[in-house]
Every structure is written in C-alpha cells, then in structure tokens.
C-alpha cells in the first residue's frame, strides 16, 4: 500500500493495514535517533505549528523533537498567549496560521473532534495531539509500537488497561487501535470510571484487578487525576491504590513476563509503586523513546501527502 492521508485524527479512522504501515515506518525512524547524526532532511523547508490549546509538556516536547529531527521549522503556540483568549474563533486562528504558508498543524484541544473540524477546512495537514477524552492517536501508536516490539504479533495479545477509562483519550485510542490489530482488550477500574457500555465495542470490562490482570500479556496503567476524587468518582487516591494500584504483591498474580506500561506522568504509590515502576517488567521509559519514533513517522507520512 501507499500512505495517502494528510491528517492523522484518530486510529478509529484507520485500517489495520494503515496502522501497521505507521508502525513499520516508525521502526526505521527509531534507528535515526540511534545514529551519531540524529537528523534527516525529510521535512526540510516545511513549517510545523504546534498549537496547544490545552496545556501539555511531554507530548509537546516529543513532537517538537520529532519535528527537529526531521529538519522542519517550528512555531509553538499556546492558548495562554494566543488570540483565542481575545475571542477569536478556533477556525479563524487556524486559517490565520495557514495563511502563513504553514504545512502542518499539530493540535491539542479540550474539545473532542476539534482537529477533525479544522482539518475539513484546511489544505495543510493536521495531526491530533489529543482532543478531550476522545482520541490521542500518537500515544496509542507508541503504546502499540512498544507492545509489538516486546511481544511480537498483536493478534490475540491480551492487553489490560487499568484506570480512569471514562475520561481517557489514551484508553479509547488504544482500544480502537488494538481491536483493529486483533488484540484482546480488557478495561479495568472502579465501576464509576469503567462503564459497562464499553463492552459494545468488543472489549471485556472488569471491576476486579486480579481478574483483569492475571492472564494479561500487557498491563497499561492510566494516570489518576486527583480532581476526579473531588468529583466523587472514588473515595480517595489511597483507596484507589489499594484496589487498583500495582505493587510487588499483586505483580505475583501476573505472568512473569507481563509488560507494565504507563503513558506518564506517573503518580508513584497511586497507579503503581516504585518497585513496579522501576522494576524489570516496566517499559515506561522505552515508551517515551518510542514516542519520538512514532511521531517522526506520523509527521513524515502526513507531510508527504500535503499538496503544494
């Protein structure tokens, strides 16, 4: 096949073949960062705007570094310093950006579908760096890339995602991507945060940690945001940690070669203890490394399909 999309909006839109194509491309880009010369001229002369309407540090830094290693020119815009605060509409903002002959916009926004909306109106490419609780395709791609690298085939791989599924774009993107590639997905956490409605997508929903993880090949932990506690989704982070946190004791329930993953930033002693986070099953820092490769691949492919 050939890659023909100028936007990356959601893994739900992609075929299994397209997802595999992205992962294969990322493998070659991973090697670029392992060379002495960690840069290629693939996007030389192209301009990328990182428009982060919702704050982000690690995703933005990863995108920025990916863009630099592809030789693109970069402009960073944040909501706090943009004219969105002066009342300009999102569409006017991005049309103004496009009028500066920009080739790609990487956008994070709190409104689900914001990237799909602007992509419809722009000739330049759009990459979704997270939209509300809807989608975070590059995070899911780097998670899946890491699983494939460590476990080989994704078909029938048992992946359990633990945490605040309800509010998580990472969980949704992982779920769609993994289902397309034939993995078996379990969503686990307190019943307030893991509604049964997800079963309609073809996943297993589980409210007991032991049941959820004991035959898993991969356990992907989501960050628990403290503000969910005040909203009443669970009584306390201490109670969450007691029932759903990974520690040395409950790691014994699991397969000896289980992969422990986390998109970061981790809350030590909430989602997992330091023994697990820094232990031999953890691939959390490798996920960060792979994120760079995946984002280079995404930017390279979509930029190649933006028409001059």
């Amino acid at each position: 096949m050939e890659w023909t999309r100028k936007d990356l909006l959601s893994l739900y839109d992609l075929s299994a073949e397209e997802i595999t194509f992205l992962l294969d491309t990322a493998e070659e880009f991973k090697k670029v960062s392992e060379r002495n010369v960690k840069k290629v001229p693939a996007l030389r002369g192209k301009t990328v705007v990182n428009l982060f309407v919702e704050p982000s540090t690690r995703t933005r830094v990863s995108f920025e570094l990916a863009e630099q290693r592809l030789s693109a020119d970069i402009v960073n815009m944040q909501a706090s310093s943009s004219s969105l605060l002066k009342g300009e509409t999102l569409l006017d903002t991005v049309r103004n950006i496009e009028s500066l002959q920009v080739d790609l916009i990487v956008m994070r926004h709190s409104a689900p579908g914001a990237q799909a909306f602007i992509a419809k109106h722009l000739k330049c490419g759009v990459v979704n760096a997270g939209d509300g609780a809807h989608s975070h395709p590059t995070q899911a791609l780097l998670d899946i890339f890491t699983m494939r690298e460590k476990k080989g085939a994704l078909k029938d791989l048992k992946v359990t995602i633990v945490g605040d599924i309800l509010h998580s774009r990472v969980a949704r993107s992982n779920m769609w991507g993994l289902l397309k590639l034939g993995a078996k997905v379990t969503l686990a956490g307190p019943s307030t945060l893991v509604p049964r409605e997800f079963e309609a997508a073809g996943v297993r929903v589980c409210h007991n940690l032991k049941d959820a993880v004991q035959d898993a090949d991969v356990v992907n932990l989501l960050r628990i945001q403290h503000e969910r506690q005040s909203a009443g989704f669970f009584p306390s982070t201490g109670e969450y940690a007691k029932f759903f946190g990974l520690n040395r004791q409950n790691l014994r329930w699991m397969k000896p070669d289980v992969l422990v993953m986390h998109p970061g930033p981790i809350n030590r002693d909430v989602e997992l203890t330091s023994e697990v986070a820094d232990g031999p099953n953890s691939v959390i820092l490798e996920q960060v490394t792979n994120g760079l490769a995946v984002r280079m691949a995404v930017l390279f492919l979509v930029a190649g399909c933006v028409k001059k």
Binding site: M1, E2, F21, T25, V32, R35, N36, A42, G304
Partner: protein, 187 residues
Amino acid sequence: MTLKKQLYSPEEMTAAISMIAAAIRRDFDTDGSVPYALVGLYNQGVPLAERICDEIERATGRRPEHGRLDISMYRDDVGLRSGLPLIRETVIPFNIDGHKIILVDDVLSSGRTIRAALDAITDYGRPNMIRLAVLVDRGDPEYPIRADYVGFKLDLDPAHKVAVQFDEDGDEAGIFEVNWQQKPLNR
C-alpha cells in the same frame, strides 16, 4: 496501455554485471588491504549489489562487505507524490568511516536518487571515497552526477522508463524499455 520491449536479455545482463564486478575488483581488490564495501540502493540496486558481490566472491573467494540503503528520508520531492511507499530497512553492517564505498543502483537517470544517497550515506559516517556503479546509464542527468562503472549506456525517449528485472522477484529477467504513459488512440 503499457508497452514493454526487451532491450537486453538475461545473458547480456549477466555479462554486464560480470564486467562491472571485474572492474571493481581491479580497482579495489588488488591486494585485499583496502577496506571497501558495496551499498545497494532500493529497490533494484539491492539485488544488483548482491549479484556483483556474487561475481567478486566467485573470482576471489571473498565476499565484499555490502549493505542496503533506503533514501526515502532524503528525497527532495515531499508533497509532489500522490502517496508514500513504505520505507525499507537500511542495513550498513560495517563502519562507514574510512571505507571506500561503491553505491550501486540499477538505472542512472536524473541523478536525484544519487544526490539523496550521498546525503544519506554521509549521515552514517565519513567514507574515504564514494564511487557509483549502475547497470544502465540513460545519459540524461539533471544533476552533475556521472557513474564510474556502467553496464549499458542508453539513449531513449525521455518519456519512457527503463526497468531492470531479476528473476528472483518471479519476474522475467532482463532490461526493458517501458512506455508507461502510452495512451490508447482516440479515433
């Protein structure tokens, strides 16, 4: 409609590859003390480099070091193509620094692929010298790039394509002229 005409038979192609291998051996393999390596460019430069290595090995008993190079990240036509093909694996299993490198491609046409390959290979290290071997030289370069080892020089209609095929792909082996822009006549 695509018109395809054989320009050279598999036997003629094999003879040309032997000739290139002999010339490389003469220049680089005289006493075995100079480290040199062949680097094939995807697609067809890769099997061609293997064939040249086969010939050198047959004559000397030693297989030269060799690698494979994908130049997708170094192309100058981002946004000019309709879609992007999959990047193939670059394999350089030796230290480029101080090596004499012979780039191998099937057809030298505009020279743009070779320009990209020069950028790519020098990102892997600092070669002592770079040379170029091609099976077919179309003689119409857009860049000032010439090959050092040439199987066939051809003067063809610029709209026509040259296809080098090896039997290992399940294709009919040989060198072909392809008129891929030929449109059926409207009567």
